[in-house]
Amino acid sequence: MNERSRDERLRIRPYALTGGRVRSSTELALEAIVRITPRGEASAPELATERREICELCADPTSIAEVSAHLRLPLGVARVLVGDMVTEGFLDCNDNAVSEDNRPDLRLLERVLDGLQAL
């Protein structure tokens, strides 16, 4: 499929890519970081265009927000596609690590503090 028709398709009906779903099987945070798995690398050439592009992008660790920005997909669409690909084993994922109150735990906060100070 050439670039132009792909762009038009994305602009006209992005949610068609997700079968109309706005929720993924997994509810990942927009900052969840994904990276391609060996299974993803092996399967990428046979995947649909958007999924193949996600595989290429996620050769390096990439957040869902970055997938959305780089591939010009609405955040909701990127979330569903990436969530599905994690479930299918094409991507490894690190979601945000939060405790029961939905906040990062103390150890993580301390690591952020140290990391920022070292910048």
């Binding site: 390096d60 957040s63 970055e66 920005a69 503090l113 140290d114």
Partner: protein, 200 residues
């Protein structure tokens, strides 16, 4: 197909060498300097992602954006690698009431928020302050002083915003990396303090 996985990115922690994400929300009124703030410390040029505004889009219009009947809302964000296995994302978000539906999602798991304030348009940050206060999200108020000048004293601003004494407030310069870093450090320190304090 070429996979350009770089040598230096062979992380050793997390799931399959995937770094752990953390995030800070940067909120404030229209054109108050949120993206400048993010860009001053981000290791990448700030990127933009769009979330859909659907049935929630009724209601308040924004000064300067009143003519726009947009169906999406753009969020600018940046990233900072903190070592090999931790990445901090900074999400800039519009500070108006009508975007509250987005904030619930955005603040889930966040360290906290920086509310960027322009003292000549204090009212632009009311909605953000209200939201973070009622949601119990740790936040700091950073007054963006263009050219080092602000129109009111910190005490006056605190009073005008009716912010409790334990919320840190500081003057920052969104263009300056060191000032942005100091503001972020203040927030993380505040979040740590709040997390270790006995719950109110």
């Amino acid at each position: 197909m070429v996979f350009k996985r770089s040598e230096r990115n062979q992380q050793t922690s997390g799931s399959g060498g995937v770094p752990v994400p953390v995030k800070i929300v940067v909120a404030g009124g229209y054109a108050v300097g949120k993206t400048t703030f993010v860009g001053s410390i981000s290791e990448i040029e700030p990127l933009t992602t769009e979330a859909s505004l659907t049935s929630h889009s009724h209601g308040v219009d924004i000064a300067g954006e009143a003519a726009k009947k947009s169906t999406t809302v753009a969020m600018d964000f940046g990233r900072i690698s903190l070592g090999d296995d931790l990445i901090l994302y900074l999400f800039g978000t519009p500070g108006q009431d009508r975007f509250h539906f987005m904030w619930d999602d955005l603040v889930r798991g966040a360290i906290g928020a920086v509310v960027v304030v322009d003292t000549s348009r204090l009212e632009d940050c009311f909605a953000a302050v209200d939201y973070f206060e009622s949601a119990g999200i740790p936040f700091v108020v950073a007054i963006n002083a263009f050219f080092g000048r602000i129109h009111h004293s910190l005490d006056d601003v605190r009073e005008a915003l009716a912010i409790s004494p334990d919320v840190p407030m500081m003057i920052t310069d969104a263009r300056d990396r060191a000032a942005t870093k100091a503001t972020l450090l203040e927030l993380v320190q505040h979040a740590l303090t709040q997390a270790t304090a006995p719950s109110a």
